[in-house]
Symmetry: C2
Subunit: 505 residues, 2 copies
Amino acid sequence: MLNRVRSAVAHLVSSSGTSSQRSKSPDLPNATSAPLAAPETPKSPRKKPGNEVCRPQKSLENPVSFSRPTFLQLSPGGLRRADDHADRAVQSPPDTGRRLPWSTGYAEVINAGKSRHNEDQACCEVVYVESRRSITGASKELSHNQGFCFYYWGLFDGHAGGGAAEMAARLLHRHIREQLKDLVEILQDPLPPPLCLPSTPGTPAVSTTSQLVSPQSCWSPQKEVTHDSLVVGAIENAFQLMDEQMARERRGHQVEGGCCALVVVYLLGKMYVANAGDSRAIIVRNGEIIPMSREFTPETERQRLQLLGFLKPELLGSEFTHLEFPRRVQPKELGQRMLYRDQNMTGWAYKKIELEDLRFPLVCGEGKKARVMATIGVTRGLGDHNLKVSSSTLPIKPFLSCFPEVRVYDLTQYEHCPDDVLVLGTDGLWDVTNDSEVAATVDRVLSAYEPNDPSRYTALAQALVLGARGIPRDRGWRLPNNKLGSGDDISVFVIPLGGPGSSYS
Amino acid sequence: MLNRVRSAVAHLVSSSGTSSQRSKSPDLPNATSAPLAAPETPKSPRKKPGNEVCRPQKSLENPVSFSRPTFLQLSPGGLRRADDHADRAVQSPPDTGRRLPWSTGYAEVINAGKSRHNEDQACCEVVYVESRRSITGASKELSHNQGFCFYYWGLFDGHAGGGAAEMAARLLHRHIREQLKDLVEILQDPLPPPLCLPSTPGTPAVSTTSQLVSPQSCWSPQKEVTHDSLVVGAIENAFQLMDEQMARERRGHQVEGGCCALVVVYLLGKMYVANAGDSRAIIVRNGEIIPMSREFTPETERQRLQLLGFLKPELLGSEFTHLEFPRRVQPKELGQRMLYRDQNMTGWAYKKIELEDLRFPLVCGEGKKARVMATIGVTRGLGDHNLKVSSSTLPIKPFLSCFPEVRVYDLTQYEHCPDDVLVLGTDGLWDVTNDSEVAATVDRVLSAYEPNDPSRYTALAQALVLGARGIPRDRGWRLPNNKLGSGDDISVFVIPLGGPGSSYS
């Protein structure tokens, strides 16, 4: 994200802060113990050839290294060209190579110079989930229930360094897999999820779900919990565990900065779209636009941030006030009445200015210039454990949330045609275009290709990236309307909704 | 609201708690000093005859008294009939009397026995706002700017006693008037609202807005604040001040219980619909339904409540946990893994049950049975300052918010026909019907009357109340489909959107 963190007022203090000791999943691979190239072990007989492992090309141990997604199959020369801020060549998986899972289209371009490397990262995987029960000794009769696959797409838009985005691209889907291991039988059982499981992970398995404590045996009334909400909970916890892992390993492994995360999980007929940050996902279906995410910024999360500052004033130090003013209050305005709003208000009112109001507002600015603590322009994501207010030891992380909002789209509820797509883009795309323009490009590009042409979705991703980047003219990157194109990193996934479908799940 | 507060587990401790000393508007009339029958002083030359003052028929000083809105013009005998739980006669303003402002329709009915009296209250007013500046000495040249009128409708659904609803019906619009006094010139000036006002209320007036500190004189960049958002802020602060007044006066004046508040302010061409609680407002326009409010319940506000419990665990005492479980955890389930979710999650996951999880969940139950601290089923409103958890001194008020959500509807953006209406109803209406059924009733009833028949909106309100109450059959109040009708108090306003229009503002 362009200027998401104001380097003028923020710095990274890599040596401070204590790392969290909590680990929900102690058996998870981590950056230290797991080989970076550890395969995702797709054991499912239904897994297609051509699904690749996404891993960074260089070890994170070398802080000056950088990487692009493996599925781009970049040669050393290609990697240099992808890193060229002057050319800004659009990158896609090669036509000659193996295609991405689910006929996915992908394209990306580096920024115009705002950071040394492209800080976006991407991952596209088919991940096999082996049941924790079957691992620990299920009977052979249950082999059909021993696992399932999920499709996975992730866009990670880094800021203040590429480390967090690289780590998330490499590991977040493993955290999701880990969270799903307990749910393999439950999600494939048409009965409602059991209220209780009798054992902790790793203890001897229960061979059938009927041996679990079923809802019927627990006294009513109790809340009904759906299968969908278990997947949502698994994704939410995976985000948190990923964030905690970054906190633990930030010192040894140069997990610099933070990243927005936009993730799609396809599982058992449904798309789960999880967003933490300001990337965006939309479905374009028969020309209609269906928003699949919303952005989390100081403006959209103002009341959450102000409430936290109000309830925990120690988080504001002596520098900030939780009240919002239209601009910073001047000392000469003491005693006057100025427009303000607090954590409870959506409207504005006048208040008499007191000494405390001269502090800097926790939330200030508008649009792309909106900031938390004058520093960061995005309020959800992974990492940022070392982010401090400039000239201060005040940490910003307590105001940032690592939790995504998850929306569910049931693929089976609609007969999708080959032109129906789910588009994921980092804010480099959305800063200079909007949903309607993207939908128009979807229509224009896809109608120029045969419905069964496998290159059409990559062509669409490229057209979207090119349309946001523009062409070099008048000392800048310009769009056809002569407005400035996006100078940010731009990354786009195009997922056809009429794609491989549920037969692959 | 039927069973909104579980009397089995909650009690009212009228002698405990300290009253807030804060008063934003010390010159506001209060229950002690202001005559209950104080007229709203409609000084505007544009104010129509027939606009009445809404005031309770009996003083609040007598705790056994009860009242219905004055605009019902009930005789002592009529008041007794309105209070009859067996008959449940529908009450409306008499045909022979003066009509409600804005051709408003109104109907109400008492509950089937859940509380001694009808705990709903209503208010319908035209309120004149005199500028605080002109009060304090504006020049005569500015007389056209000395004030304006707003139309006002309020529905107050009381619980655990009728005192809070009565007080809100009597005073909330005065708080709104008080908040608007500073804004009279600003709202009528096409320029953006000034960032600063040079004086505090009550100091010598500034005669023209050009003497105010204009946005241009404050350095940019600054956030633009709209006129609408000032009205929203005024309503929000008025709700808070009303709640604080209830806290101050609860001991001397028997302000029992609490109430939901659904309020509409029509001002300068726009309807501001403010809701705190589980009443509901919808617009039915050319058959289309436009929701104008949402309900605030333990389910819809779960994450706000859990976050507060998480950040301020002292508010939970040793009795409650901020985690949600599908039902209360049993001691024998210690060590098992049970479904849960915390303040960050919308999905569910399994966690190992520990000792702390045996506490009662802060939020529990579903639908109409959902409760905060096993006690109250609504999470926003006015009052409830004495509400405690049963057998405990733990106050529930910290979890309740007095702030409404305000939605704005611009009447000038659409050519309304006489059948376009804004319907306000307490939950007694919405518990047994839905938006579509109400829209169908709007169509059915209004099409049976001439467009200019002044009784059509009252007839519609009556039809809606009757349709929710049902008729006595099989030892209960039954709807035509033989389902149970609402046993709660039911109150309905019908506001025609093609009504008197902006010429009255």
